[in-house]
């Protein structure tokens, strides 16, 4: 008969089993893909109307225009960039309707003689 020291007690062995159960060994993704392909290949009936699910179920539901918009958004730098663009657009619109006094010198049909000193000084330098 064995002495108790010659055996791992039940509690330790049960803990060992629990530890193994908690760390299941899984097949790699490549193996899972191969098994799925084999399952499809072995299917007795092929039904093109029951296609495999895509990797991302949400992507399947997404309309093409929505995907294009998402790509565009990503290209310009995401939502922060879009917010900056919107702010700039609104500011531009506001300036268009109600231009500040200083800006009318450059944009409106204001008093062009205000520019004369600059032009004359340039001519002096060139001459």
């Amino acid at each position: 008969m064995r002495k108790a020291d010659d055996l791992l007690d039940d509690a330790a062995l049960d803990a060992l089993f629990a530890s193994v159960r908690a760390n299941p060994q899984l097949p790699s993704t490549a193996v899972m893909n191969r098994l799925y392909d084999a399952a499809l290949a072995a299917q007795p009936v092929q039904r093109p109307d029951l296609l495999p699910l895509p990797v991302n179920r949400d992507a399947r539901r997404e309309a093409p225009w929505r995907r294009a918009m998402a790509q565009l958004l990503e290209a310009i730098g995401g939502w922060p960039a879009l917010a900056g663009l919107a702010t700039a657009g609104v500011a531009g619109l506001w300036i268009g309707f109600n231009p500040p006094q200083a800006l009318t010198v450059w944009t409106g049909p204001g008093d062009l003689t205000m520019l004369a000193p600059y032009d004359l000084s340039l001519l002096d330098e060139e001459g």
Binding site: R2, D5, D6, L7, L8, D9, D10, A12, L13, D14, A15, L16, F17, S19, V20, R21, A22, N23, P24, Q25, L26, P27, V31, M32, R34, L35, Y36, A38, A39, L40, A42, Q43, P44, V45, Q46, R47, L50, L51, P52, L53, V55, N56, R57, D58
Partner: protein, 193 residues
């Protein structure tokens, strides 16, 4: 993963759908069954490559049987455990089982709980090595009972024997494991005091 592998559909319903050409059923069944078959085969063979081959073969047999599967006669998992066990035994008879370093994945070095993971890995390797020394049927019974967590009546159906014989096999197997691992208490983190 955003798939429906956890759908409430039973294995039998999915297998019936598979037989009618439903690719979604093929996916869900593969996701659900392959890890169990693989894990079981790995425990019995101690070799990942063998476990992968056996998983592929066991599932292929299921796919071929799908159109003729008779609902209510046997659980699909029971049938799969039986096929897997037989395939493992066939392979073991053709080749001496290897010691199981291969059966345990390496832990990631940068894991936050690296010490605990190393301990788990040491335990798994020790158990796998001890399992490899058990006779085939004892090993199968112990794995089904204590790792797969099945009840003795289901194990009896899988191994095609009566419940008393299963109890005897698992008891002897467990005692042999206790003896094999007794000298490694400290290494496994089970030292007293």
């Amino acid at each position: 993963m955003a798939f429906d592998a956890d759908t409430a559909d039973t294995d039998e319903a999915l297998l019936a759908a598979y037989a009618t050409g439903d690719a979604r059923a093929a996916f869900v069944l593969t996701q659900r069954l392959a890890p169990r078959v693989f894990g079981h085969a790995l425990r019995l063979t101690g070799n990942r490559a063998d476990a992968e081959d056996i998983t592929q073969e066991a599932l292929l047999r299921l796919w071929r049987l799908a159109p003729d599967w008779r609902p209510g006669e046997a659980k699909i998992t029971t049938w799969l455990y039986r096929v897997t066990g037989n395939l493992c035994i066939d392979r073991a008879r053709a080749r001496k089982p290897t010691v199981a370093l291969d059966a345990v994945a390496e832990p990631a070095d940068d894991a936050p709980h690296a010490a605990a993971r190393l301990q788990d890995t040491a335990r798994m390797m020790a158990l796998q090595a001890a399992l490899a020394d058990l006779p085939e049927r004892q090993r199968q019974a112990v794995v089904l009972r204590h790792i797969e967590g099945l009840g003795n009546p289901e194990i009896a159906r899988i191994m095609d024997m009566n419940v008393e014989a299963v109890e005897s096999l698992t008891a002897r197997g467990k005692r042999a494991l206790s003896a094999a691992l007794a000298g490694r208490r400290e290494e496994l983190g089970y030292a007293e005091g």
